[in-house]
């Protein structure tokens, strides 16, 4: 059996793995051990199963096997595999976005009871980005037009995605020059599938370009649309106090864990779970209340908007059930382990699947349908409440839970830095330029059993903030750093370098900012662009002192995110393992040549502290290029200089 202390930095894992062992339940870490040794061909990206003649494997040590049956080389095979991962990730984000667009449109048309446009400002901003004429139109009319355009973006065949225009001009020009501006969201994914079919595109650099185009279609397309529509529909997040880790489960209340990625259903469960009818029902079953908690990115969504506690990250989904205290685990899509129903079998927990796209043998299926969403939500909550009396005495809720501040949307950061009358990124830019903040890092992504759970995120982020790099986070990475106490304002004085700490004290923020779920990485792109537009830090994201990382990545979505960061001009370092290492040429292309081509490039470093140092080195390189590596003289203005100022 896996040793909790070795596999995770989180005490809850140790406690609950012990319990699972006692209860005779298998965990992902157990299965991880069973999977060893991993297939090395697969691990290095050198195994091809794209046609019936294979599997073909390339010898990484230079032996005879240097080509597949069809003649595909290591770089072709690894590149095809790599961009298919992009396709998988982009498809996941984008299908999520499409789902949101459908609900949004239904809500705009008044066909989805329980939903309404909560953030009109965001809607109007989208309308302007989409070129919708506002005139005298009602909010509903505008919303219908925005929804229709948003939905059409996915299937668009020609031209370019509307949100490309939000990128820095220089970046747009570069994308045009390279021919990687996405025409539509779906089309680029489909084209990957086509080009990676046997006997189509065999030039790894050309394959990569299509991967780039699809990834941009994710970051600046599907994901960005998803985030914006979710904000318009449920409200743009504003800083909120929350709590994180399994200690948020309650002994005496009905615990409902909402796990997955979409906020569509969870938002309604938030509402329904506090209705009197449900609370009465809970009381009648002997519970003191209904305790809704999140997990993974659905958890992040309701944390960001309502401060609902987060029970844990991807790797805590099984152990959450093993507490014996969960009445229901409600799941929708993405990153939900198929093992959940079998873990739940040993306890009273009901695993409730809700998406027609994601069914789990052994789970209860209560289908969520936006036209009947409130009823679905009620039925789910009732199912959980009715399950409360079935809870056995075999309960162990870990004590661990800590506070965090979440809810840092780009709009909010802008407001926080200047108030409602002077909202802007100016203070951020200023303090990057004057060196109090050395740079910005986006540390995002998953958990993987192939690294020590949480260690990669926490150690990397600590190293970054110690060196005055402010960190923006999403997804499970954010949850892990929150659990380590890095997302409270007090963390600045404790962990951050003096410059960053001073800025945090000025704004009243933690040194590590929670920006949402993994689909919300688009927020980081928009924030970076806003910094560019504010001035003084170059004309393109690739000129900024920024870097990205996913030290514990595991999903295809992470590869797609990583690649759209690279395609946006960001140096992005992954940990754990890297899927192209079998091809030196491809890896060199990704790690070095891309910088020349597109301004950003990949990196791989399993040691999180070393990875952080690579990021810092890159940030320093960019600072130097911008000429902000030296102390600046204080400029005193006389009248002649004031006359030279441009009008605002």
């Amino acid at each position: 059996m896996a040793d909790g202390k070795l596999v995770s930095i989180d005490k809850t894992v140790e406690v609950l793995l012990d319990k699972m062992e006692k209860d005779g339940v298998e965990s992902c870490w157990d299965r991880h051990l069973q999977q060893e040794p991993r297939c090395q061909y697969g691990d290095l990206g050198l195994c091809c199963r794209h046609c019936g003649q294979g599997p073909c494997q390339i010898d990484p040590f230079g032996g005879e096997q240097q080509k597949g049956v069809c003649g595909a080389t290591a770089e072709t095979i690894a590149a095809r595999h790599f961009i298919r991962m992009i396709a998988g990730g982009a498809a996941a984000h984008s299908d999520h976005g499409r789902g949101v667009a459908e609900v949004f449109l239904a809500a705009a048309k008044g066909e989805a009871k329980g939903y309404e446009i909560k953030d009109e400002q965001k809607l109007l901003t989208m309308a302007m980005d989409f070129g919708v004429e506002i005139g005298d139109k009602s909010i509903e009319e505008i919303a219908v037009e925005v929804g229709e355009i948003a939905l059409a973006q996915f299937g668009q065949q020609e031209g370019e995605l509307k949100y490309i225009k939000k990128a820095p001009l220089k970046r747009q020009e570069l994308w045009h020059k390279l021919g990687v501006t996405p025409r539509g969201v779906d089309r680029e994914i489909v084209e990957i599938m086509h080009r990676t079919h046997i006997g189509v595109d065999n030039d790894y650099k050309n394959l990569l370009l299509q991967g780039t185009r699809a990834a941009i279609g994710d970051g600046w397309g599907g994901s960005m649309i998803a985030t914006d529509l979710q904000d318009a529909l449920f409200g743009t997040p504003y800083p909120v106090l929350g709590r994180v880790n399994l200690g948020v489960l309650k002994e005496d209340e009905v615990n409902i864990i909402i796990h997955g990625h979409e906020p569509l259903l969870s938002e309604l469960i938030v509402v329904v779970s506090q209705e009197k009818e449900m609370l009465d029902l809970a009381t009648s079953k002997g519970a003191q209340g209904i305790n809704l908690v999140g997990m993974c990115c659905t958890g992040n969504e309701i944390l960001m908007r309502h401060g609902i506690p987060v029970a844990g990250d991807f790797l805590q989904q099984e152990i959450a059930i093993a507490t014996g205290a969960a009445e229901a685990v409600v799941v929708d899509i993405q990153c939900i382990m198929p093992s959940l129903p079998s873990v739940a079998d040993c306890y009273h927990t009901k695993v409730i699947s809700t998406s027609p796209k994601a069914k789990f043998p052994g789970a209860t299926h209560i289908e969520f349908d936006e036209h009947n969403a409130l009823n679905s939500a009620k039925e789910i909550v009732k199912t959980a409440i009715n399950n409360f009396p079935n809870r056995s005495r075999n309960v162990n809720i870990p004590k661990e839970s800590v506070d965090l501040i979440a809810g840092f949307s780009y709009e909010t950061i802008n407001y926080l830095l200047g108030g409602m009358f002077r909202a802007s990124c100016r203070p951020l830019n200023d303090n990057i330029i004057n060196g109090r903040i050395r740079g910005i890092a986006g540390v995002v992504g998953c958990n993987s059993v192939r690294t020590r759970h949480g260690e990669g995120h926490v150690e990397m982020v600590k190293e970054l903030i110690k060196n005055d790099v402010i960190v923006l986070q999403t997804g499970c990475s954010a949850i892990d750093c929150a659990k380590a106490g890095l997302m409270v304002p007090e963390a600045a004085g404790k962990y951050a370098g003096s410059g960053l700490a001073e800025v945090c004290e000025t704004v009243g923020i933690p040194p590590v900012l929670h920006m949402g779920s993994c689909v919300d990485n688009a927020r980081i792109l928009i924030a970076a662009t806003a910094v560019i537009k504010e001035g003084g830090l170059g004309d393109d994201i690739s000129e900024m002192p920024v870097a990205g990382a996913a030290p514990e990545w595991m999903s295809e979505k992470a590869i797609s995110i990583g690649h759209y960061f690279v395609a946006s001009g960001v140096y992005t370092v992954f940990g754990a393992n890297f899927p192209t290492l079998g091809s030196k040429k491809l890896t060199k292309h990704l790690f070095e040549e891309l910088e020349e081509q597109i301004g950003g490039m990949w990196g791989f470093e399993p040691d999180p502290v070393k990875a952080a140092q690579l990021m810092i080195k890159h940030i320093d390189k960019k600072r130097k290029a911008l000429g902000i590596d030296k102390t600046r003289e204080r400029v005193l203005y006389d009248m002649a200089m004031r006359r030279e100022l441009e009008a605002v």
Binding site: G419, F421, N429, V503, T506, V635, L636, M639, L645, E646
Partner: protein
């Protein structure tokens, strides 16, 4: 923001908003919703509220919306642990503070209409001046625009001793800054400290005692925001632009002297929102990271002898202080100081004795640079309250020196002498008047210092146009009279030469973009027959200014091909305007008000407007506060057409320009003038008579209506008809 500052400031804002609401409710009970309310003589209502929110408070009832707005934007208190971010919310709290303080102050005016002097100076029994009205704003605002005053210091509280207060005030004055004072510390107020020490307080000496309470600090914000609206042309309600404008162009800061209360912190947050940093003499927390202000936001625990220097540095302000060899303090801040009654030690001129000032050109070998001779008795030779005749004769020489520069340099004598603390100067030429106060004499001021300071300052400001200058100061009656006679001859020659210049015979005009520090698209082009609209720069001044500083705001403009001789348009001028306005304006007419007139900045002395019913134009000068027939007061007009716009139907111009031959000549000229305020008519009566004789309507002055005839077109039209005003029979204006 530091947590302590944000927490305290937000608490303070809550208290101030509560106080405002309470005062407002009491006022409502007493006077009712329809009671008019506001600051005196202003077109900007309660200016911070009007500027930031675009909302006009005219009656008590209007305040309800403001109070609700304040409550809306007031953030919750900052929690001790795991608090939410506070910078943005704290800045909002600062703004709510200013809104609430304007409400409090407006109600104060209602409760006691005489709580403030409502003028430039304190009175016998009232030290507190209250809000600057629009006349003061314009008069003083111009100094901010041209750089005479680079900014202001808002002082809260009191210095530990009167002596320190006087030192700080003087140091600020020496840096040419205005000093706005409010609030108390341990029962003491900075203004009172200065008063106790006999320092002259009031707008003329730049030491402005706004009020005794902290809420009077909002008058400083109101001044800044009105400067942005009236000189910068920023629209009310365009809050972002207004605040950035203040950050970039109004070089102000706050000095807190004494214990910083929650309410002070709240005001500090308001200041930071405007980009004005706070410098404290107490060990409060600092906010050093930059961003909202240009540099640090709060710097604390600064010793009193360094506080002014520190503040100027933190604000990012470059002040060049002239080193002038006189035993008294010296700078523009002392220009408005008076010497009166028992204070007078020596008096010259002013009708009491002969006095003359004359600058003339000499050959290089005739001038010994820096030589100052006093011929006759000096101050040390006479008793207090003496009178002496006086001639100040300056002789300049240099390869680049032209006769045309004589009057320009000579005209400097007035303000340069006035800059000396304890010395008062009025007038010029042979109608000058000088008083030297006892204080100055005690410090060792003598008449030779007049020569020394003129030598030093003229070299500093005009040193590029002459090489040498010397001064002779006569105090013997016969010598003075001799000089007077010579000078009068020189004056007559000069005047004749200037009169003879015309636009047609001059190929090079001069630009003036001095005001671009405030109105970035404004471009004056000054021709011999169209002086600058501020009244301060004629063609010759601009020429000299260009000689002095070839890269400065006055540039030669080759007028080029004439595109329209009647309305006055030249190819070269248009090209220059387009470039200098950064593409905002690509042409204008010099002699027209109807067709794309010259741009107007907020500094203009007068604004002319078309009166369609009368088929003529009116003009109003900025010292007239009343209504006019065009339906707008001067200040509203300036807010509408100022800020660097070219607005057909309106044009800014100088008082002098009215009687110049090209004044709106394309539209018919002076004959179109149907209305002027009485004070303006009186001021320019002599020149207007001369000009009207020239155009063959000798009694034109009597035909021009003023406010005693009416302040609407309907009211003045019968008067014009009765007088047979020429405008009525001219071609239709439009």
């Amino acid at each position: 923001m530091s947590k302590i500052i944000a927490s305290a400031g937000i608490r303070g804002a809550h208290k101030i908003v509560e106080r405002a609401e309470k005062k407002w409710k009491e006022a409502m009970d007493k006077w009712g919703a329809n009671e008019p309310v506001g600051f005196p003589n202003t077109a900007y209502f309660l200016p911070v509220i009007y500027g930031i929110l675009g909302y006009k408070v005219e009656k008590l009832g209007d305040i309800e919306w403001v109070v609700n707005k304040c409550k809306d934007i007031l953030p919750p208190f900052v929690k001790e642990n795991v608090h939410l971010p506070y910078l943005g919310p704290a800045l909002d709290a600062g703004m709510a503070t200013f809104f609430a303080e304007e409400v409090i102050e407006a109600i104060k005016y209602l409760e006691d209409p005489n709580c403030y002097t409502k003028q430039e100076d304190p009175t016998e029994d009232n030290l507190w001046l209250g809000a600057a009205d629009d006349v003061i704003l314009r008069k003083r605002g111009v100094e901010f625009v041209d750089g005479t005053a680079p900014g202001f210091a808002a002082i809260l509280g009191a210095a530990p001793t009167n002596e320190i207060a006087v030192k700080i005030a003087e140091e600020l004055q020496l840096k040419n800054l205005y000093v706005f004072m409010a609030a108390e510390h341990e029962g003491k107020r900075f203004s009172e400290q200065l008063q106790e020490e006999g320092v002259q307080i009031g707008w003329p000496t730049r030491l402005v005692s706004f009020g005794s309470d902290i809420s009077a600090a909002v008058f400083a914000a109101g001044f800044a925001i009105r400067a942005a609206m009236s000189f910068g042309g920023v629209e009310p309600g365009d809050f972002r632009k207004l605040l950035i404008y203040n950050k970039d162009r109004i070089f102000a800061f706050a000095l807190t002297l004494g214990y910083v209360t929650d309410e002070w912190y709240a005001n500090g947050l308001g200041c930071v929102n405007f980009g004005f940093p706070v410098i404290a003499d107490t060990p409060i927390p600092e906010i050093l990271p930059t961003g909202v202000c240009t540099y640090e936001h709060v710097v604390s625990n600064v010793p009193h002898d360094q506080i002014v220097q520190k503040a100027v540095e933190v604000r990012g302000l470059k002040v060049t202080v002239a080193e002038v060899p006189v035993p008294v303090a010296y700078g523009p801040a002392f220009e408005g100081e008076r010497v009166r009654g028992a204070d007078i030690y020596l008096e010259c001129g002013g009708g009491r004795t002969p006095m003359v000032e004359w600058l003339t050109t000499k050959e290089m070998d005739e001038v010994e640079d820096g030589k100052v001779e006093v011929i006759g008795p000096d101050i040390t030779d006479v008793q207090p309250k003496s009178k002496l005749p006086l001639a100040i004769c300056l002789e300049a020489a240099g390869r680049k020196f032209e006769k045309d520069f004589e009057p320009i340099l000579e005209r400097q004598i007035h303000h340069l002498v006035n800059y000396a603390q304890g010395v008062m100067h009025i007038g010029q030429r042979d109608i000058a008047w000088l008083r030297v106060g006892k204080g100055a004499v005690e410090k060792g001021f003598k008449l030779e210092h007049l020569g020394k300071l003129l030598y030093a300052k003229l070299h500093q400001d005009f040193g590029t146009v002459f090489d040498k200058i010397q001064a002779r100061i006569y105090t013997e009656e016969d010598k003075v009279k001799e000089m007077e006679e010579k000078a009068r001859k020189a004056y007559a020659e000069r005047d004749a030469r200037i009169e003879g210049m015309t636009d047609e015979t001059t190929d090079t005009y001069y630009s003036c973009t001095l005001c671009q520090s405030f109105a970035p698209s404004h471009v004056c082009i000054v021709s011999p027959e169209r002086t600058g609209l501020c009244g301060a720069y004629n063609w010759m001044d601009c020429k000299a200014s260009y000689e002095i500083n070839p890269t400065g705001p006055n540039q030669p403009v080759e007028k080029g091909e004439c595109l329209d001789p009647k309305l006055g348009m030249w190819k070269g001028c248009n090209a220059f305007v387009e470039k200098a306005s950064r593409g905002k304006i690509d042409h204008y007419y010099f002699y027209s008000i109807v067709n794309d007139p010259m741009t107007t900045c907020g500094c203009c002395e007068c604004i002319a407007a078309i009166l369609p019913m009368c088929n003529g134009v009116m003009t109003v000068s900025r010292d007239y506060m009343g209504e006019t027939p065009c339906g707008m007061k001067f200040t509203t007009l300036a807010g509408t057409v100022g800020g660097g716009l070219s607005t057909p139907g309106f044009v800014g111009h100088s008082k002098y320009n009215i009687c110049q031959r090209k004044f709106i000549l394309g539209d018919g000229g002076l004959k179109r003038m149907v209305w002027m305020p009485k004070i303006l008519k009186e001021e320019i009566a002599d020149r207007l008579k001369a000009r009207s004789e020239e155009i063959g309507i000798p009694n034109l002055l009597d035909m021009i209506a003023d406010e005693t005839v009416g302040i609407s077109e309907e009211e003045i039209l019968p008067f014009l008809e009765e007088k047979g005003h020429p405008a009525l029979t001219m071609d239709p204006l439009m």
